[in-house]
Symmetry: C2
Subunit: 370 residues, 2 copies
């Protein structure tokens, strides 16, 4: 008998789990809204006034399709990074670009390498396009570069993924460590370097952009320091042959007009981004002091969030649930060893104050770990 729906065998085997449950869905489940939203590493410091102005103006022409080439933004990004426009691919956030990279380099059944507990959407695409994730655990709360290298060599993988600075740990590797990693990768392996949080990192975490390494794809976003997560726009810096490959498969009208306009304006307002980075640095210090004051510790952060160490997965989960039930949206890593932690985005001063009052009250109700 013919099946009712002629789904592909791949679709039939895919799980129904999704990369992230949004805070709105949790609010609907709980029946109460969050009053402190510090769980998704969204910027608490808004967007550049120039970006806002450009976005409002873009609404006037929203009846027109967006430029599918993203030409003006790509040109500006090329100038900004001192590369060619042919080195820039613009997409609907890093999420979109990760999907393109998986499609470009992995045939069904092939292996992708990354850390266990790294960005869920990367693994979602790997599985969704019929490839398989091979993971190696974090070591000392950092991506384990040696283990990743070994895994690439052992599996013959064409794709290895690394977030630097890392999400969800917040830690980073230096340019020296990263360069050694790149140098030791086989020629058959493409390295996706996810730099979503790079604006918040120290200078020695930022590999030089030029010369473009043929097997390195840098991914950047306007979601974090630029404050435009809800606009859906990011970009890749890579070899022109990879840009051309993405041209063959990408959704050409992916990036909406308003995001294009906002990103272009924000790129021309570096002072705004610098002010965000300073505010985030201040907030990180407060969170680190808070962690110490309540008898927790925190991982060193080069991002816009701080990963609080609750020492055991159970305790981290209990704290998370208590925070959420009191209207504070935070998240926690799902995989060991980081599942003993919960992750708190740097909020506004008011949000940090609210969190600093709720956290000790919650911890007072939770037994110390044995």
């Amino acid at each position: 008998m013919a099946p009712l729906f002629p789904f592909t065998p791949l679709i039939e085997t895919l799980p129904t789990t999704i990369p992230f449950t949004g805070p709105e869905a949790i609010e609907r489940q709980q029946g109460t809204p969050f009053h402190v939203r510090i769980g998704a590493n969204e910027s608490a410091f808004g967007i550049s006034p120039k970006a806002r102005q450009a976005m409002v103006e873009a609404i006037d022409h929203i009846s027109w399709y967006n430029d599918p080439e993203n030409h003006d933004l790509r040109e500006a990004l090329a100038q900004h990074h001192t590369v060619s426009i042919h080195n820039i691919a613009v997409g609907g956030g890093i999420d979109d670009l990760l999907g393109l990279a998986v499609r470009a380099f992995l045939s069904p059944g092939q292996i992708a390498v990354a850390s266990l507990g790294s960005y869920p959407t990367y693994h979602y695409h790997v599985n969704g396009f019929g490839a398989k994730s091979h993971t190696v655990p974090y070591h000392n709360d950092r991506n384990d570069l040696n283990a990743l290298l070994d895994a690439v060599h052992k599996t013959g993988s064409h794709l290895v993924y690394l977030s630097n600075p890392d999400n969800p740990a917040g830690t980073y590797h230096t340019t020296t460590e990263l360069q050694a990693f790149v140098d030791q990768l086989p020629e058959t392996c493409i390295f996706i370097l996810d730099e979503a949080y790079i604006e918040f990192a120290p200078e020695n975490a930022v590999l030089p952009i030029s010369p473009i390494h043929p097997r390195l794809i840098r991914m950047r976003t306007f979601s974090k320091a630029h404050g435009m997560a809800g606009a859906r726009i990011g970009y890749a810096i890579c070899d022109p042959e990879i840009v051309t490959a993405f041209e063959k498969i990408r959704l050409h009208f992916m990036v909406n007009r308003i995001a294009q306009a906002g990103a272009l304006a924000s790129l021309h307002d570096p002072d705004f981004v610098q002010s965000v980075v300073r505010s985030v640095a201040q907030g990180r210090k407060e969170y680190e002091a808070l962690a110490k004051s309540v008898g927790l510790s925190s991982l060193p952060s080069a991002t816009n969030f701080v990963t609080f160490d609750a020492h055991t997965p159970d305790r981290a989960g209990t704290i998370l649930n208590a925070l959420q039930s009191q209207g504070v949206f935070v998240r926690k890593p799902g995989a060991p060893p980081l599942d003993r932690c919960f992750r708190v985005t740097v909020g506004t001063p008011e949000e940090r104050q609210a969190f600093a009052e709720i956290l000790p009250a919650i911890l007072a109700q939770i037994p110390e770990p044995k």
Copy 2:
């Protein structure tokens, strides 16, 4: 020797052609801007004032990610169409949803059926995911339902695509014809009914929504009558099992916050959409009269564009080039038999006036067909 880039075999074989060259790219090539943009079936009548207001307000929270479930919009669409929220999938325009349908139902090497010269992005996805397009020609400037049915049966295809009303012809099939088509499809074939232009069509072009047919996916968009092409938002109405399949593979944060807010507000302003439909009907009449007055004919249109018949592909191409070089952006179908035509979107009264002046002047320079 290892290749420099470990692209998949599929990527290596894909062409570098893209579905559409945007008017911005043509402007950059020509070195002059278009002053009449009536080529991409964008709405000349803007967006609802309510949608505009909602979009401006959404910018205030653009630092927050969009709700990945598109919950509020899906709920409103379900109510609007008197179906369940589980029958609604929201995506980044029909372009995005077409890709999901191809991924859900076609394994590499399998066959997709559609008319020759139908929506390029559908064929782009079919090829991009490694499947193959099987096409049948238009008949009397309409999709040939019998030939499409024959092709489905002959090829055993799991997917057949039809745009009703049709783009690029502008013609339509009645509910009686469509229902007979659905009834004769084999159980193993999913029918994608692209209804991007449905608001402009007569009532007898609109199949009832309920009861939901398990193998029918209706695709709708906010790009046309709602005037939000640059916002990138559309939706599918289909069986919950298909919605669930899309959940397993879709880009969850695809649809930006501003589009979500604008679409929701526009849905609640039916008077605005009706006023657009009336304006378009007026413009179509003017275009039909214009075609006759300059010695061309036009295909009957149930859309927001009119397909002008220039009788030969060469003449259609010559007219198109002359229009573009005089600052008027129009498009023409690429495949026979419709490649003898060029396609003109209903513009504002001022744009129609400009076009009505330029077209006869151009035709005076072009020899009559033999």
